[in-house]
C-alpha cells in the first residue's frame, strides 16, 4: 500500500519543512481551515479512526466530548511517551516526519478550538526533542503556528514537554498529572480528561500515530480513509516488529494485516531458519500467543477473539532458543519498576509475582509456585486502579496458560523434595 505516515522518511532532509511541503505537506491544514471546526470533528468521526496508543477509542467521539464542554481554555496533548516495550512505531514519525505530527496537531487544535498543544515526549528520546523543537520553530516561522495561522486569525501554540522516565505516564491521566508537574499517578475517572483534564480544563490526549493520521483523513476524505484496512478499524497501521525475525523494523500496513503476514511476508520469517516459539502481538502488556494463533488479523476487533489484544501493534517474535520463563520474569521486573505505587494490588502483588518468578528461574522454585503465581495474579486482575497491574497479571496468566512447561522445566526437584519433607 502507498505509504502516508512514513512517506519520505528515507530522505535525509525529511525533517525540513520545505521538503515536507514539497511532497504535499501542510495542504491538509488549508483544507481544514476552510471547514467549520465541528465539521472537521465530524470528518474524523466518519473516518472511523481509532486511537493508536493501544486503547482504540474512536478518536472523533473523544473529540466531540471535549468540543461539547464549554470550559476554556482547551488543550490537545500528544502522547509521545512511547514506553510500551516492543513499541518503536512513533519514533520514525517523531524523528523523521515531525511535520506530519505538527500538522495533525494544528488541525486537531482547530477542530477542538484548543489554542494550546503540548507534545509529551518521553525523556528517552533526546534526538526527537531537538528535531521536534526545530520543526516547531520552522512551522512557526512559516505561519503555521502562532497567533494568526495562515492569516486566518486562528491561534495555536505548540510546545514540547519532556517526560523523565515513567512508563505509567503513557496513561492519559498520569500524563496530565506529569504535565502539571506532579508525580505520574493516574486520576480517578470520571471526570474524564475530555471534561476535566489538564488544569481541570477539557483536554484531548491522542497518540502520535493517531494525530499523524489526521492530515491523511483531511486529504483523502473520511469515505476513502474508511475503506483502508478493516471495516471496523480502518486506516494504515504502523507495526513495530522486533525479536528473532530476519527484518525487524517499523512497517506501515493496512490495519488488520495478519500476524502471519507480518512475520513471514514482510519481515522475512524467523532468522537463522529457527522455529517460531511464541509471539507477543501488541507490546509487553498483551497476552502471549502460541504459534497456532498467528492467523489472526491484527486489529482491535479480531485480536481479543484470539486471546490477546492489538495494543500498540508492537510484535515481539521469539524463536525456539528463548527461555520464556525468563521473558516472563523480565516482563514482571519491568512492571514492578514502572508501577506508580498508588494501589495495593499492583504495588505489592506485581513485586510478589516477580519474586516468585525469580525463584523459579534460578532453580529454587517448587511445584506449588505456579499455583501460587496464578492465585496472586487472580487477586490483582480486576482490582487495580489502572490497567498497568492488570496487564502484568494477565500477562503472567497467559504465559502459564500457553507455556506452562517453560516454568515447569525450571522447577527444581530438590526444592520440591524439601517442601514435602518439611510438611
Amino acid at each position: 500500500m502507498e505509504k502516508f505516515l512514513l512517506k519520505n522518511i528515507d530522505n535525509p532532509n525529511s525533517t525540513d519543512i520545505n521538503e515536507y511541503i514539497s511532497v504535499g505537506g501542510y495542504k491538509a491544514i488549508s483544507k481544514a481551515l476552510e471547514m467549520k471546526p465541528a465539521d472537521v470533528i465530524d470528518e474524523v468521526k466518519r473516518s472511523g479512526l481509532r486511537g493508536r496508543g493501544g486503547a482504540g477509542f474512536p478518536t472523533g467521539m473523544k473529540w466531540s466530548f471535549a468540543a461539547a464542554d464549554p470550559k476554556k481554555p482547551k488543550f490537545i496533548l500528544c502522547n509521545a511517551d512511547e514506553g510500551e516495550p516492543g513499541t518503536f512505531k512513533d519514533r520514525p514519525i517523531l524523528e523523521k516526519n515531525p511535520h506530519l505530527l505538527i500538522e495533525g496537531m494544528i488541525i486537531s487544535g482547530y477542530a477542538l478550538q484548543a489554542e494550546y498543544g503540548y507534545i509529551y515526549l518521553r525523556g528517552e528520546y533526546p534526538r526527537a526533542k531537538d528535531i521536534l523543537k526545530d520543526a516547531i520553530k520552522q512551522a512557526h516561522d512559516k505561519g503555521y503556528l502562532g497567533d494568526n495561522i495562515l492569516g486566518k486569525g486562528i491561534r495555536f501554540h505548540l510546545h514540547v514537554h519532556q517526560g523523565a522516565g515513567a512508563y505509567i505516564c503513557g496513561e492519559e491521566t498520569a500524563l496530565i498529572e506529569s504535565l502539571e508537574g506532579r508525580r505520574g499517578q493516574p486520576r480517578i475517572k470520571p471526570p474524564f480528561p475530555v471534561n476535566e483534564g489538564f488544569l481541570s480544563k477539557p483536554t484531548v490526549v491522542n497518540n502520535v500515530e493517531t494525530l499523524a493520521n489526521i492530515p491523511y483523513i483531511m486529504e483523502i476524505g473520511a469515505e476513502a480513509y474508511s475503506k483502508i484496512g478493516s471495516p471496523d478499524c480502518p486506516g494504515p497501521k504502523l507495526y513495530s516488529i522486533s525479536g528473532h525475525v530476519k527484518n525487524p523494523g517499523v512497517y506501515e500496513l493496512p490495519m488488520g494485516t495478519t500476524l502471519r503476514d507480518i512475520i513471514y511476508a514482510h519481515c522475512g520469517g524467523i532468522r537463522d531458519n529457527k522455529k517460531l516459539k511464541a509471539v507477543i502481538p501488541g507490546g509487553i502488556s498483551t497476552p502471549i500467543l502460541s504459534p497456532d494463533k498467528i492467523d489472526c488479523p491484527m486489529d482491535f476487533v479480531n485480536m481479543p477473539k484470539h486471546g490477546s489484544m492489538l495494543g500498540s501493534g508492537a510484535v515481539m517474535v521469539f524463536d525456539e532458543t528463548v527461555d520464556l520463563a525468563k521473558v516472563c520474569l523480565r516482563a514482571m521486573k519491568f512492571f514492578e519498576h514502572e508501577s506508580c505505587g498508588k494501589c495495593t494490588p499492583c504495588r505489592e502483588g506485581v513485586g510478589w509475582m516477580r519474586a516468585i518468578l525469580e525463584r523459579i528461574c534460578n532453580g529454587s522454585g517448587n511445584e506449588k509456585d505456579i499455583e501460587l503465581l496464578t492465585e496472586v495474579s487472580k487477586n490483582i486482575i480486576g482490582k487495580t486502579f489502572c490497567p498497568l497491574g492488570d496487564s502484568a497479571a494477565s500477562v503472567v496468566q497467559s504465559f502459564i496458560k500457553n507455556f506452562r512447561q517453560e516454568f515447569e522445566q525450571h522447577i527444581s526437584k530438590e526444592a520440591s523434595k524439601e517442601i514435602k519433607a518439611a510438611a
Partner: protein, 154 residues
C-alpha cells in the same frame, strides 16, 4: 544555588504554561544538566523559584527514573535490558561493562568516567540491543561495538 543562566532559562520555560508548576520537570532538567545531578539544595532552590513546596519537588523528582539524585560519572551509560534487548544479548553487554570497566548498574567507575543505569525500553527494539550515552543514541550493539563506542567517551 542556581546559576543566573538557569534562572533565566527556567523563567523562560514558565512562559509556556498557564501554571508555574507545569514547568517543574523542565526546570529539574535544566538544573540536572548544569550540575549533573539534583542535590537536596538544588531541589529546594527549584521549589523556591517555582513556589512549589520542597517536599513536593522531592516527591516529583524521585518519582521519575531519569532524574539523578547522587553525583554521576562524566558520562552516563543508559543501557536497555528489557525483553527485546534481552533476547538479542543485552545481558551479555552488562557483563562486558562489568568486566571491562568494573561498572555495575547504578554505580560509577572509580575514575569517575562512566555511570551505568539500566533502562526499561528506549524504543529501539527492532535494532536491539541499544543504549544512550548522555544524549547520544546507539543501537545494533555488539560486544566489540559497545567497547569501541565507549572508547570515544573520556
Amino acid at each position: 544555588m542556581l546559576s543566573e543562566k538557569a534562572v533565566v532559562e527556567i523563567n523562560q520555560i514558565k512562559g509556556r504554561y498557564h501554571d508555574a508548576r507545569s514547568s517543574l520537570l523542565p526546570a529539574l532538567y535544566v538544573v540536572q544538566r548544569e550540575h549533573g545531578w539534583l542535590s537536596p539544595d538544588a531541589v529546594e532552590a527549584v521549589g523556591d523559584l517555582l513556589n512549589v513546596p520542597k517536599a513536593a519537588v522531592k516527591g516529583v523528582s524521585t518519582f521519575y527514573s531519569m532524574f539523578r539524585h547522587k553525583p554521576m560519572g562524566r558520562h552516563l551509560i543508559q543501557l536497555c535490558t528489557n525483553v527485546a534487548c534481552m533476547i538479542m544479548g543485552a545481558e551479555r553487554l552488562v557483563d562486558i561493562l562489568k568486566s571491562r570497566y568494573g561498572l555495575e548498574p547504578n554505580s560509577t567507575t572509580s575514575d569517575g568516567r562512566f555511570s551505568l543505569v539500566i533502562m526499561e525500553c528506549i524504543g529501539a527494539c527492532g535494532t536491539a540491543p541499544a543504549m544512550l550515552v548522555d544524549t547520544d543514541f546507539y543501537d545494533n550493539l555488539t560486544e566489540q561495538g559497545i567497547v569501541d563506542i565507549l572508547e570515544n567517551y573520556k
